[in-house]
Every structure is written in C-alpha cells, then in structure tokens.
C-alpha cells in the first residue's frame, strides 16, 4: 500500500512543479464556466425552470460539473497507450506492483492536485462572480464526496479500458478521442441527462457514463433528493464493480500476448 501512496505523492509534487499549468488552468476553467453560465442564461431566456432545474441550479450544475471534472479527469489512457507503444509496459510487468493500480494512483495524485488547486480556489472565484447556490446540508456534502470518489473510479476504469485496448489495435488514438467525446456528451458534463429526450435517457440508463458527471453534479445541486440519491450512488457502485471484469480480462489476455510475442 505504501508504494501506491508514494505514487500519489510523487504525481502530486510533479503537478505542483508546473506552475504555468496551474495559473492557466484556473483561468481556463473560469472562462469555461463563465461562458456556459451565459450560454445557459440565454437558453433559459426568462424561463423559470427547465426539467426541474432553475437557472441558478443550472449554473451551479455547470460549475460543479467542471470542477468535479478537474478531479476525475486524467490522461492515463493516453499514457498507457504511449507506454505500450514504446514497449515500456513489458518492463512494468516485472516490477513489484500492479501496473494498472499504479496508473490509477497516478491519476488520483493528479486528481487531488487539481481538486485542491483548481477546483476549490476556482469554485470560490466563480461563486463570487456568478450566482451559485451551495447546499447547507451536511448530508449533501457527504453524498457528494462519495459520489465524486465513485465518479473518479468509474472514469478511471473507462480510461484503463481504452488504454489497455492499445494492445489490440495498432494505433489507438481514434478510440481514445472517440471515448473522450462520448464521455463529454453522455456523462452529463455538457448537458444534464434529464434534458435528453426520453428514449435517449432510457438508453443511457444502461451505460456507465452518467456515473461520471451527472450524478455528482445532481447531488450537489440537490436535483436529486431522498431516495434518488441512494439510487444514484448505487448506480455508480454497481458500475464500478462491473467494470472490473472487462479490465481484468483484457489485462490477462494482453499479458499472455505480450509474453508470447515477447513485447
């Protein structure tokens, strides 16, 4: 366990070392949230609420969705693909840790960094400029915490999955890009899932993507209340467990292939 914690720490320090990244990151996140705020204001155009969300809730939703993204987002799929292509993964097999676990921990280190340096200060800045509602209920914050941890897990699992696919394709860039687009759209980052037409919502109920952004954001804005919160968290949990299967399966096959072909 100690080595994984060390990995988180090292990645955290690495991120701290790049300070241009830091300042520009806050700026860009703020511009993003600002632009969406105005865009949604224009979309509401005086309407009181759409699909049960008021303008203020919607603004909060967008702000939280972007800030949560800073936490769960990582590029480990790209990193894995790169390391596979450069043949570095073969070396990782002989190291005394689980490669995918190590990558997850690196992602977590990045996530914690962004959470504490982009999201929290960014959120404070944004809440000074735009009308955003924070819940006063402790339980909302608690559920939100659980929800973003689970969203990190699900998103990371999907990244691991796309990353490991590189073993089976010559060039995985297309898939990685496609995955990113799909996540932006179906996770609820750009649009709350409830805005989609009914049939689309039903399809998305069978896909893991809303666990990434929609659920934590809805919990934070109190768009979900009571039983719906528990149901949402259960949804995340179930997907977090289910996704272990294909990852492990692909990993085992990839390992065999690698040993047979000698990398």
């Amino acid at each position: 366990m100690g080595k994984y914690i060390e990995m988180i720490r090292v990645r955290f320090l690495m991120m701290l070392a790049y300070r241009t990244n830091y300042y520009s990151g806050i700026l860009i996140y703020s511009i993003n949230i600002g632009a969406y705020y105005f865009l949604w204001n224009a979309i509401y155009g005086g309407k009181g609420e759409i699909e049960g969300l008021s303008v203020i809730q919607m603004t909060t939703y967008i702000a939280v969705a972007w800030m949560a993204r800073a936490f769960y987002f990582n590029n480990i799929d790209r990193e894995i693909a790169q390391e596979i292509k450069e043949g570095k993964v073969a070396v990782e097999f002989i190291r005394p840790y689980h490669y995918l676990m190590m990558k997850t921990m690196q992602g977590l280190g990045e996530g914690i960094f962004r959470l504490s340096f982009f999201s929290i200060p960014g959120m404070i800045i944004v809440s000074l400029i735009f009308p955003i509602e924070f819940s006063a209920a402790l339980s909302t914050w608690m559920f939100f915490t659980i929800a973003i941890i689970l969203s990190f897990i699900v998103n990371t699992q999907i990244n691991l999955l796309t990353g490991v696919m590189t073993f089976f394709f010559f060039n995985n860039d297309g898939l990685i890009r496609a995955k990113r687009v799909v996540i932006d759209l179906f996770s609820g980052l750009l649009l709350p899932i409830s805005f989609y037409p009914g049939w689309a919502q039903q399809v998305m109920d069978f896909l893991p993507f809303q666990a990434i952004s929609y659920i934590p954001s809805m919990i934070f804005t109190e768009g979900f209340t009571g039983f719906a919160v528990w149901e949402a968290i259960l949804f995340q949990l179930v997907w977090a467990v289910i996704l272990i299967l294909p990852i492990q399966a692909l990993w085992v096959i990839a390992k065999k292939r690698l040993i047979v072909q000698g990398g």
């Binding site: 860009i28 632009a35 010559f170 759209l185 989609y196």
Partner: protein, 261 residues
C-alpha cells in the same frame, strides 16, 4: 517553389503511410464525425427546450456550426500542434528540426498534418446547406469567394492561437495541458457573442478571437447586417493573428533551451 514541392512530397508520403493503416484512418474519420455530431446533438437537445437563443433561431445556430466546421477542419489538418510541447520540446525532437534548412514551423506542420480532418469540410458544408435551405438563404455569385476568404481567415485565426500557445513552450519548460482545454473555449465562438457579458465577448473577439471562426463570419451569410463590420474583419484578423503568432514563434526559437538540461 521549394516549399510547395516539399509540401507535396510530404503529402504523398503521408498518403502512403496512411493507406497502409487503413483501419486507423477509418477510426480517425469516425471519431471526427462523432466529435462533430456531439456538438450538433448539444444544439438539438438545447433547442428541444427553447425556440430562440437571444434572438437567433435553431437553424441559424446550426448554420454557424456548419460554417465553423470548415475552417476548423483546415486547422485540424495542418495546424493541430497541441502536442508540440511533449513531442518536440520534452523529447528534444526540436533539435532535429533545427538542423534542417527549412523554417522550423513549416517542418512541424508538415510532420504533424492530419489530412483526414479535411473531411470536416464536407460535413461542414453539408450542415450549412441543410440549415441554409431551411432558412431560405440567397446565394449570390460572389458568395463563394467571400466564403473562401472567411474560411481562410477563420483557419488562420485558429492556427494563430494554437501556434502562440505552442510558442509558450519555448519559454516555459513545463508540460502544459492548456491546449486540450482550448478546444472547449473554441466552442464558445460558435454562439452569438451578444449572449455573453462584456469580458467574455472581449476575450472572444480580441484575445482568443474564436468568434472570428464562428459567429462573425457566419453573420454575413445569415444577413445579420449589424455584425457586418466584424464579419469583414475576419480575413484581416486571420492575417494579423497568424503573422503575430509566427513573429512570436521566431522569437521563441531563439529562446529554445534544448532537451535534457
């Protein structure tokens, strides 16, 4: 002349390698299409809940999006150097570039081009034709020429922004993730800028002038005369921004520190 021959040699090499990996190419085109569809879906879903976006109709917004795709495709094919820092600075490939007798940026553009992005031109024009039909837009004989200038202007604006961002790498040794985040900001230029407040409008017009890749030039074709001034500024902005970016690049090259120091 030399540059043109080199360009075509690179293009033919590019075709050769690409055709060897046909599945990859197909995947890439598919993911581009998907990327284009996502934004369209966003527009469609949003207009499922409203009829007007501060006085602009759904079809107008779709038209702007269609127009945006064309310069964006050209940008994507030639100037999409978002991984410049990692590939050329961190890994030191810039050393190799600088030992060749061709302008460094030109070489990088040739090495990084992704011609399959040009399919976006077709998608974009298709979207424009669809939306334009529904809007009953008239096309004059000179409109294609204006279109050409607008598209080139927009592509140069986009290219200029990304070249400027890439140039930052010459000064700062840090790995930046600014580039991927820029794509999101690029999207905001596709909505009527009057929905934003002054600060964001100013940023999108003069600092990161993405509005010149979307709403401003489209306003001309949509007959929105109140925006004509900005619309005709598009090619000028393109040339100015691109020129400035190259100027900064050339200064940046003299600050290059080399890899592994």
């Amino acid at each position: 002349m030399k540059h043109a021959t080199i360009f075509f040699l690179y293009v033919s090499q590019y075709m050769k390698t690409r055709l060897t990996y046909r599945v990859d190419m197909l995947m890439e085109i598919m993911s581009d299409l998907l990327f284009q569809a996502v934004n369209l879906i966003f527009i469609l879903v949003v207009f499922g809940h409203t009829d007007m976006l501060s006085g602009w109709s759904k079809d107008e917004i779709i038209f702007i999006y269609g127009f945006f795709l064309v310069p964006f495709a050209i940008f994507g094919a030639f100037f999409n150097i978002w991984d410049f820092n990692e590939r050329y600075i961190v890994k030191g490939e810039m050393d190799r570039i600088l030992t060749r007798p061709v302008h460094s940026l030109f070489q990088i553009i040739l090495e990084r081009m992704e011609l399959e992005s040009l399919f976006g031109v077709i998608t974009g024009i298709a979207v424009m034709v669809y939306a334009g039909n529904r809007l009953d837009l008239n096309v004059s004989w000179y409109d294609p020429i204006v279109f050409l200038f607008m598209v080139l202007g927009g592509a140069f604006v986009y290219a200029g922004i990304f070249i400027l961002l890439a140039s930052i790498s010459f000064w700062s040794d840090s790995r930046t993730s600014i580039m991927p985040m820029m794509y999101n900001i690029g999207n905001y230029g596709r909505y009527p800028v009057d929905i934003y407040n002054k600060v964001i409008r100013f940023v999108l017009t003069w600092i990161l002038p993405f509005a010149f890749v979307g709403v401003y030039p489209s306003a001309y074709f949509l007959g929105r005369e109140e925006w004509y001034g900005y619309a005709f500024l598009t090619p000028v902005m393109g040339v100015a921004f691109f020129g400035f970016a190259i100027f900064m690049w050339n200064i940046g090259v003299t600050k290059y520190r080399g890899a592994g120091n």
